[in-house]
């Protein structure tokens, strides 16, 4: 004899028993539905928030720090408190020689300048970068290439247009190889770039900037040797925090800065931010799973409860079934499949609901909140296992009902 788990009769019966007390079934189903939805939404929400926060740093090498010269906070060697100083290209070279430093990307910025190409013109920020820029900051190259070492060495008159600038100057596309006029100097366009991160080193986002070699910028705009800001990346095994004392020592040797003046150099450690985000979201994810599973377990206990009540109510019916030939296993299968049906339907609805909510969060935030298929499958597995577990005790109780009880119950 087969158990009839897949028999249509079995499923019709499940439907019939569950539908006989709609309110009760609905309330129980809601427990599972809510538990599953909570679990899925919390996991998706935590991941989405993390992605949102990380988006700010996307494109930054994670083991890096942004540095630039700040006003002195302590008077020193005739320089007053509050007086400024500048980093120079020579400082950058000195920093590059520190053990543990991988690259130091020097940049300088000029705010809003008019720029023209053919009959189109606009205003744009201009930044000069050197060959290390690509190591510290990972811009998205839309087409062509970025500034390289040869450009820097030869003070080449080449430019990489931010995507927004390119769209304004070359609405028809085909910017590469064309020339742009910046303050009377023509630069050949070699690439178009954008950035993922919300964060910027200083100045505008790359999307709204024209990037030229730092050496070209210094020459064309009479900047001398000054460097606006630098992004320093550490070698594997080193961290910006570990390198900071050495960096300070090198810079103090080259500039009059008081030994106790910690303010004179702005030092933003990106790796620390990453580490903080990491541990923050590890915690949030754990909390989400904890709370979600808790809610789900509460829902499952409801299922166990309801199955227990259903079995008690149906003692006589189960007795009749046993009298006309149902084996204990048939009864177990029947009760278990009811519990499983209830949990799977309600749980699936919960996942679908959560997916819809997370989908809306996706569109609103522009960041992925949606849970992966794997996560959804895992949640499905969790509530199915819990649903089966919850049905075990009631179904064993049902199995013990003797056929004689059908008659005696009357």
């Amino acid at each position: 004899m087969k158990t009839g788990f897949l028999d249509l009769e079995n499923w019709r019966e499940i439907g019939a028993t569950l539908m006989r007390n709609k309110t009760r079934t609905l309330l129980t189903a809601f427990g599972i539905f809510w538990g599953t939805a909570m679990l899925a939404m919390l996991i998706g929400g935590a991941d989405g928030l993390e992605r949102m926060l990380r988006r700010n740093f996307e494109g930054f090498a994670s083991n890096s720090a942004v540095i630039f010269a700040n006003r002195r906070s302590i008077s020193y060697q005739g320089f007053n408190k509050g007086s400024g100083w500048s980093m120079t290209t020579a400082d950058i070279d000195a920093l590059r020689r520190i053990e543990g430093v991988d690259a130091v990307a020097a940049t300088d910025n000029i705010d809003q300048l008019p720029i023209a190409a053919g009959r189109y013109s606009t205003t744009t920020a201009v930044q000069g970068v050197d060959q290390d820029f690509m190591k510290a900051f990972l811009p998205t190259i839309r087409s062509g290439r970025f500034i390289n070492e040869s450009d820097q060495r030869h003070k080449a008159k080449v430019a990489v247009l931010g995507i927004n600038v390119a769209n304004k100057l070359f609405p028809a596309g085909n910017a590469i190889g064309e020339f742009v006029n910046l303050q009377g100097i023509y630069y050949k366009v070699v690439g178009i770039a954008s950035q993922e991160a919300e964060e910027r080193i200083n100045g505008e986002k790359i999307d709204d900037t024209v990037t030229i070699p730092l050496s070209t910028l210094a020459f064309a705009f009479n900047r001398g040797d000054d460097v606006g800001a630098a992004m320093l990346t550490a070698l594997p095994g080193w961290s910006p925090g570990k390198l900071k004392p050495r960096i300070m020592r090198v810079l103090r040797a080259r500039h009059p800065i008081h030994p106790d003046d910690t303010q004179a150099l702005f030092f933003f450690d990106v790796s620390e931010q990453f580490a903080m985000v990491d541990s923050l979201f590890m915690g949030i994810t754990l909390l989400a799973i904890f709370v979600g599973i808790g809610t789900l377990v509460a829902g499952i206990i409801g299922v166990g409860n309801i199955m227990w009540v259903i079995v008690k109510e149906r003692t006589s019916e189960i007795g009749i079934r046993r009298a006309i030939g149902a084996r204990p296993l048939d009864i177990v299968v029947q009760v278990m499949s009811e519990g499983i049906a209830l949990t799977s339907i309600a749980g699936t609805a919960g996942i679908v609901f959560a997916a819809a909510v997370l989908g809306v969060a996706d569109t609103l935030s522009g960041v992925r909140f949606q849970i992966s298929f794997g996560t959804a499958a895992a949640i499905f597995a969790v509530f199915l296992v819990l649903g089966i577990a919850a049905s075990i005790i009631p179904s064993l109780k049902a199995m013990k009902i003797k056929p004689i009880e059908a008659i005696n119950d009357k």
Binding site: G4, E9, R327, L329, I407
Partner: protein
């Protein structure tokens, strides 16, 4: 068909109750028998033992040559399903299933396909004149109709024996007669072995043999 030798049964409650005392009984294939006795005399207990719904303490019970003793739950379920058809006083139909599904249910536990068992159930209902009530729920049927549905359910597996416990107990005298008529026809036309428990002498009269139980013992034939 049925042979009982020295059957004893005691209910061990707060006060042990020796319900069946040294029952010896033989029922042949094709007999239509009634078991009569006062209320509490042990008729149902005896019938439940015959139907493998309950155990006995000592003695020997042979059903169609099979010794019924210490059976596993699965084996007991299978024997009930294939050899025995039950009819109860309170019908014991499943309230949320229509007549057709109620009748077909024993075949579900045999693993018969849904299509086939519904076909067979329809046939059985038709024979008992209930074809037009197939899609009705038990609540929508009269007592006599319910008992006929229960009978159809008992008959669908083509059992060796029909066991009926006060089958007319909940029916008025007219429908009682109709139901008894069906039992008599089943016995006469199809040679069905039928055992009916009753305390109604009118029912006993319509059977071919009456077994009387007094205080858990079989009374000698008059």
């Amino acid at each position: 068909m049925i042979t009982l030798k020295g059957i004893n049964k005691t209910y061990f409650g707060a006060v042990p109750l020796h319900v069946l005392r040294d029952i010896n009984l033989h029922i042949d294939r094709g007999e239509l028998v009634s078991i009569m006795g006062a209320s509490g005399s042990g008729k149902s207990t005896l019938l439940n033992i015959l139907g493998i719904l309950d155990n006995y303490d000592t003695g020997e019970y042979l059903l169609d040559g099979v010794l019924i003793r210490n059976l596993s739950e699965n084996r007991a379920a299978e024997l009930r399903n294939r050899m025995i058809g039950f009819v109860f006083q309170s019908f014991n139909l499943i309230s949320y299933k229509d007549a057709l599904d109620n009748v077909a249910l024993p075949l579900f536990y045999q693993g018969v396909s849904r299509k086939k068992r519904r076909l067979m159930a329809m046939e059985q209902l038709d024979r008992l004149g209930l074809a037009d009530r197939a899609r009705h729920l038990p609540g929508e049927l009269s007592g006599g109709q319910k008992q006929r549905v229960a009978l159809a359910r008992a008959l669908i597996t083509n059992p060796s024996i029909i066991l009926a416990d006060e089958p007319t107990g909940a029916l008025d005298s007219k429908t009682s007669c109709e139901v008894m008529q069906i039992f008599r026809e089943l016995n006469a036309d199809r040679g069905m072995t039928i055992v009916i428990v009753t305390h109604d002498p009118g029912v006993g009269e319509q059977t071919n043999r009456v077994i009387r139980i007094v205080d858990g013992r079989i009374a000698p034939d008059q």
